[in-house]
C-alpha cells in the first residue's frame, strides 16, 4: 500500500485575512507569544493599482512540507526529518539550534522556540491528523471561508487531488526545486 502524501490546496480568493488560522495554530501548537514566533501566517500583500481602482489579495502560508526539503539536507544532527507521509518535522531533542535550517528555508517557515528549545514549524498538526479523532489541521478546520483543503495527494479521490485535477495551481518559488506541497489555486 502506497504511503500518503499530505498536502494543502488553498483558494486564496476566499481569504479575508481574518487571522483565524494564525491564532488557531498558536493555541493548538503551544507556539509562544511574540511576533517572531509563528508557524503560519497570512502574507500582507501590497495594494494593487491606484485609487480608486484598487485590489488586494491575501496569501496564507506555512511550511511547505517540500518533497525536496533543503532544511532536511542541511541539518547536521538529522533533527529535521521527513515522515513517510511527507511531513517535515523536527526531533526536538536533537536540535542544536544552529539555525542552518532557518537560513536554508526559502519560505521563512521556521523559528526558534525558546520553550521547547528547538526549531519549530508547521507539522500539519500531526497530533490532530494522527490522533484518535482523525481531525484536520487547526488552520484548515477553523478557517471561516474554508481557504485551505487538506488531504492525501496519493489518493485520487481526495479533495486535494480533485481540486488539483480540475483547477490550475501554482506553488511558491518553484525555481528553487524544493517541490513544495502547498498548492495555490490560480
Amino acid at each position: 500500500m502506497k504511503n500518503k502524501r499530505f498536502a494543502i490546496v488553498l483558494d486564496t480568493n476566499r481569504c479575508i485575512d481574518c487571522k483565524a488560522c494564525t491564532v488557531a495554530c498558536k493555541t493548538e501548537n503551544h507556539v509562544p507569544l511574540g511576533t517572531d514566533n509563528y508557524r503560519n501566517w497570512v502574507g500582507p500583500e501590497p495594494l494593487r493599482g491606484t485609487y480608486p481602482d484598487l485590489g488586494q489579495s491575501f496569501t496564507p502560508s506555512q511550511c511547505q512540507h517540500c518533497s525536496n526539503p533543503p532544511c532536511e539536507h542541511v541539518c547536521p544532527t538529522g533533527a529535521t526529518t521527513v515522515t513517510p507521509d511527507g511531513i517535515v518535522h523536527v526531533i526536538e531533542h536533537k536540535c542544536i539550534g544552529c539555525k542552518y535550517c532557518m537560513t536554508a528555508c526559502p519560505y521563512d517557515a521556521r523559528y526558534y522556540n525558546e520553550e521547547i528549545e528547538a526549531v519549530d514549524k508547521c507539522t500539519f498538526c500531526s497530533q490532530r491528523i494522527y490522533g484518535e479523532n482523525g481531525q484536520l489541521p487547526a488552520c484548515v478546520e477553523t478557517c471561516p471561508t474554508k481557504v485551505r483543503v487538506f488531504g492525501d495527494l496519493n489518493d485520487p479521490n481526495s479533495d486535494v487531488s480533485k481540486l488539483l485535477a480540475k483547477y490550475p495551481s501554482r506553488v511558491l518559488k518553484p525555481a528553487q526545486g524544493t517541490k513544495p506541497n502547498l498548492y495555490y489555486l490560480i
Binding site: 479575508i16 481574518c18 483565524a20 485609487y51 489579495s57 518535522h89 494522527y130 490522533g131 478546520e141 477553523t142
Partner: protein, 733 residues
C-alpha cells in the same frame, strides 16, 4: 629551558585532565538529553493523554459560534469549532480561538475590588464578596432613597446570555433607566426596516445573486453565516457591489467597490429607486398586491436622478444606472444588504427606510435569495412579578426621539440628560460588561457624567475603562467557566445555544446570576423572590415545552429545527405594520411628523484642512474589549490614523509620523498610516485603543481612542448615535 618544557607538559596534562573532567560534568548534566536518545522521535505515534470535549458557544462576539472546548488535566488546551453548528458553517474565527486566553489572562479580574484612591486613578483594594456586595446594595438603596429608584441607571450589553438577569434586577429594583447597546449600533436599522416591513429581516446571502452592501464590511465585521456565504461558490453568478469610503477587506473581495462619499448612501439608494421605478423595472404585480404607498413614491423620487446622485455621492451616474438595472434584473434574488451598524449619520433611519423600500419594490420579500423575516426558537420565558414602586418617574430619555426602545433607551440622550440632571438626576451607575467609556461617543462627556455619580459599580472580566473608573469592580466568570441559559439566535435559520463550563471558575469570579441573586437578597425580599431558582432549574424551565432542545444542546452543541429558511412564511398573513402590508409610504411616520418617505439631506460639507472621521471593524477585534487579549494584541499592537497619500502630501505629513487628531470634543495622539485605502476626505482609526485603564497592560499607552473624538450626534427617530459626523483636523504631534 627544559624546566619550562616540563612545566608546559605538566600544564598540558593538567589542562587535558581538567577539560576531560569538565566535559564529563557537562555531558553528565545533560542526562535528560542522554535519556532522550532512547526516544524514537516518531511523530506518527499517537499522543498520550485524552481530551475532554465540552460543547459550548463562544462569547467573544455577537455571533456566538458553536465551540468544542478541549480540556486536558483541567486546562483548556484548545477551542475547536463545532462541526454541527450550521450558523457558523463550522468555523471559529481568530477571536474565538483566542477566547482561551480570557481564562488565563494575567490581566483578568480575579477578586472584588473597592476603590481606594480617586476615581480614575486605578487604586483598588481586594475585598470579599460580602463586603463588596453589601457596599453595592447599600449605595443603591441610598440613592433610591435620595433620588428615587430611577436615580440608578443600569447599562449593559448582550452576549453572556445572562444580561437579562441584570436587566431583571434593574426592573425589580425599580429603575426604568436600562441602557443597552442598540443605539450605539443598529437601532436605526431596526427602526427603518420595521417601519416598512414590521420587522428587521435578514438577507438570504447564500442564495442571493446580487448583493449591494453599504459599508457593511462583512469580511472584517464578521457576521455568521453572511461573511462566509457571500464568498461561497456559485458558479460565478453572484455579484457583490460594495459602497464604503474605505477599501476594506470586503472591498478586496467584492466585484466592484465604490468609494462613496461618506454619509451619502441615501442618494445612491434613492437614485436606484428612481431608475427602477421610472424604467418600470420593479415587480409591478408584487408591489400592487403587497405594498401601500407606491403611488406616492413615484413623484417623490422624481428629482433623485442618477445625475443628481452623482453630485451627491461621487459615484458616476452611469454606474448607478447600471447597478440599478442589474439589481432589478437579478431580483428577486437581489438584496440591498442593510447590515447591522447603522450609526453613520443622524439621518440613518430614513436611509434604512430607503433601503427597505428599494428591497420591497423588486419583490424580494420572504423569497429565496431575498429578505427573510427572522424566526426564533421558542423557549419558555421565566415569568416574575416585578415589585411596584410608587414614586418612580419614567425613563430619563423619554420623549426625546420619535421611537425609543423602552428597554434599550438612547445612549447619546441619556448621556446628555444625565449630565444636565434633567428632567431628574441620576446618581448611580450599574454597568454590566459594557465598556461605556470606549463605546459611547464623546468620552470626555462620559467621564464628566461618571464624575457626577455618587456610586459606580462595574461587573466585567477585565479592567475595562469602565471598570477602571468605577468604585466597585466585581469579577464575572468568563464564558468558558459558566453554565449559561439557553438563547435563541434569531434569523432565517434560527438556532438555540447555551454554554457549559469547560473549567471551573478561577479565582473568585462568579456568574452574573449569582451576583444578581446576592444583590437581590440585599436589596429586598420581593426582589430576591424573583431570583429564586438555580441555573439548572432556569434552563429546564426554558425547555419545558420542548426538552429536545436541551438534549440536542448537550449531545450536539446546537439545536435547530430547519437547515433552510422557511420561505414564504408570511404569505397570506398580515405583517406587523398598520396596514398589514409593506409600507412604502409610512403613515406611522407621517403621524409623528416625520418624513413618510425618505428625504435626502446631504452630510455637512468638509472644510479645507479637515477630514471626516469614520469608524469600522477588524476581524480579529470585537469592539472595545479584545485589543488587550495577548493573541489578538500581537496581530495589531497599535492603531494608526489612516490618511490618503494625496491628502498627506498636501498636509505635509509622512507615513509613521506621530500626529494629533483634534475634534471639537477631544484630541488624541497616534501614528499616521498613509494609505490609499481611504477617500482623501476621510480619516479612520481602529476602535479599542487609547485606553485609560492601566489594567489593560498590553495596550495601555498605545494608540488613540476614537470615542474621545466623536461628537454627540444622533438620529431623532431611533436615538441611534451618529458616529460619522465628526470632522477632525490632523496636525503633527
Amino acid at each position: 629551558m627544559s624546566r619550562l618544557i616540563d612545566k608546559k607538559l605538566s600544564r598540558r596534562r593538567f589542562l587535558g585532565l581538567s577539560s576531560c573532567t569538565l566535559a564529563t560534568a557537562v555531558v553528565g548534566s545533560q542526562v535528560k538529553v542522554l535519556r532522550a536518545l532512547a526516544t524514537s522521535g516518531d511523530i506518527s505515534a499517537p499522543v498520550a493523554g485524552k481530551d475532554d470535549s465540552i460543547f459550548t458557544t463562544c462569547g467573544m462576539c455577537v455571533n456566538k459560534c458553536g465551540v468544542i472546548a478541549r480540556v486536558r488535566d483541567g486546562v483548556i488546551r484548545k477551542l475547536d469549532p463545532n462541526p454541527n453548528f450550521i450558523k457558523s458553517r463550522a468555523m471559529l474565527c481568530a477571536r474565538g480561538n483566542a477566547g482561551v486566553q480570557l481564562v488565563y489572562d494575567p490581566d483578568r479580574l480575579k477578586y472584588p475590588l473597592i476603590r481606594t484612591g480617586e476615581r480614575g486613578e486605578g487604586k483598588f483594594r481586594k475585598a470579599t464578596w460580602e463586603e463588596a456586595l453589601d457596599l453595592v446594595a447599600k449605595n443603591l438603596n441610598t440613592i433610591a432613597d435620595k433620588y428615587t429608584r430611577a436615580g440608578v441607571m443600569f447599562a449593559s450589553t448582550e452576549g453572556t446570555y445572562q444580561d437579562h438577569f441584570f436587566n431583571q434586577l434593574a426592573e425589580c429594583f425599580g429603575s426604568p433607566n436600562t441602557v443597552r447597546h442598540p443605539t450605539l449600533c443598529l437601532s436605526s436599522n431596526i427602526q427603518g426596516f420595521s417601519a416598512t416591513y414590521g420587522t428587521n429581516p435578514t438577507p438570504d446571502v447564500l442564495n442571493a445573486d446580487y448583493i449591494i452592501m453599504s459599508g457593511a464590511n462583512r469580511s472584517e465585521a464578521l457576521i455568521t453565516p453572511d461573511s462566509i456565504d457571500m464568498l461561497k461558490g456559485d458558479g460565478g453568478r453572484r455579484k457583490i457591489i460594495y459602497l464604503d469610503p474605505r477599501f476594506t477587506k470586503t472591498a478586496a473581495k467584492a466585484d466592484k467597490w465604490f468609494p462613496i462619499k461618506a454619509g451619502t448612501d441615501m442618494a445612491f439608494i434613492l437614485a436606484m429607486i428612481h431608475v427602477i421605478v421610472t424604467e418600470g423595472l420593479y415587480d409591478k404585480d408584487y408591489v400592487r398586491d403587497n405594498t401601500v404607498g407606491f403611488d406616492k413614491l413615484l413623484p417623490h423620487v422624481a428629482p433623485y436622478t442618477p445625475e443628481w446622485a452623482q453630485g451627491a455621492c461621487e459615484i458616476a451616474a452611469d454606474d448607478i444606472r447600471k447597478v440599478a438595472r442589474e439589481f432589478a434584473e437579478a431580483a428577486p434574488k437581489a438584496v440591498y444588504y442593510q447590515g447591522r451598524r447603522s450609526s453613520f449619520t443622524s439621518n440613518d433611519t430614513q436611509m434604512r427606510r430607503a433601503m427597505a423600500i428599494l428591497n420591497a419594490i423588486v419583490g424580494n420579500w420572504d423569497v429565496k435569495g431575498g429578505m427573510i423575516p427572522n424566526a426564533g426558537i421558542k423557549l419558555t420565558p421565566h415569568d416574575y412579578l416585578a415589585p411596584w414602586y410608587d414614586d418612580v418617574p419614567g425613563r430619563i430619555d423619554a420623549d426625546s426621539v420619535a421611537f425609543l426602545s423602552e428597554k434599550d433607551g438612547s445612549w447619546p440622550v441619556v448621556q446628555e440628560r444625565v449630565l444636565a440632571a434633567k428632567p431628574y438626576p441620576i446618581k448611580g451607575m450599574m454597568i454590566y460588561k459594557q465598556n461605556v467609556l470606549a463605546s459611547v461617543p464623546d468620552r470626555a462627556k462620559t467621564v464628566k457624567m461618571m464624575d457626577q455619580m455618587d456610586f459606580i459599580c462595574t461587573i466585567d472580566i477585565t479592567m475595562s475603562d469602565a471598570a477602571w473608573y468605577s468604585d466597585v469592580v466585581l469579577p464575572e466568570a468568563t464564558y468558558l467557566e459558566r453554565l449559561d441559559p439557553i438563547e435563541s439566535l434569531g434569523g432565517p435559520v434560527p438556532v438555540a445555544v447555551f454554554r457549559q463550563p469547560a473549567v471551573e471558575a478561577k479565582f473568585e469570579s462568579k456568574p452574573c446570576l449569582w451576583i444578581m441573586q446576592e444583590l437581590a437578597t440585599r436589596l429586598g425580599e420581593e426582589i430576591a423572590e424573583t431570583f429564586n431558582f438555580t441555573m439548572d432549574e432556569y434552563i429546564h424551565h426554558q425547555v419545558k415545552d420542548n426538552p429536545k432542545i436541551l438534549v440536542d444542546l448537550k449531545e450536539k452543541g446546537v439545536y435547530f429545527e430547519r437547515t433552510e429558511p422557511d420561505y414564504g412564511s408570511t404569505v397570506g398573513k398580515k405583517l406587523k405594520t398598520i396596514s398589514g402590508k409593506i409600507e412604502i409610504f409610512s403613515q406611522r411616520y407621517a403621524d409623528k411628523g416625520l418624513d413618510p418617505l425618505p428625504v435626502y439631506s446631504s452630510p455637512q460639507a468638509i472644510p479645507a484642512g479637515k477630514f471626516r472621521l469614520i469608524v469600522g471593524r477588524h476581524a480579529f477585534f470585537t469592539h472595545g474589549t479584545t485589543a488587550n487579549n495577548a493573541y489578538l494584541h500581537e496581530i495589531m499592537p497599535d492603531n494608526t490614523l489612516w490618511l490618503h497619500s494625496a491628502a498627506a502630501t498636501q498636509a505635509g505629513l509622512t507615513h509613521g509620523q506621530r500626529v494629533k487628531v483634534r475634534s471639537s470634543v477631544g484630541e488624541e495622539t497616534l501614528s499616521l498610516e498613509v494609505t490609499d485605502k481611504i477617500r482623501p476626505d476621510c480619516v479612520y482609526m481602529a476602535h479599542g485603543f487609547g485606553v485609560m485603564s492601566k489594567g489593560l497592560s498590553n495596550i495601555y499607552g498605545k494608540g488613540g481612542c476614537d470615542a474621545a473624538l466623536i461628537e454627540t450626534k444622533y438620529c431623532p427617530i431611533s436615538g441611534n448615535a451618529a458616529m460619522h459626523e465628526t470632522l477632525v483636523e490632523v496636525v503633527p504631534a
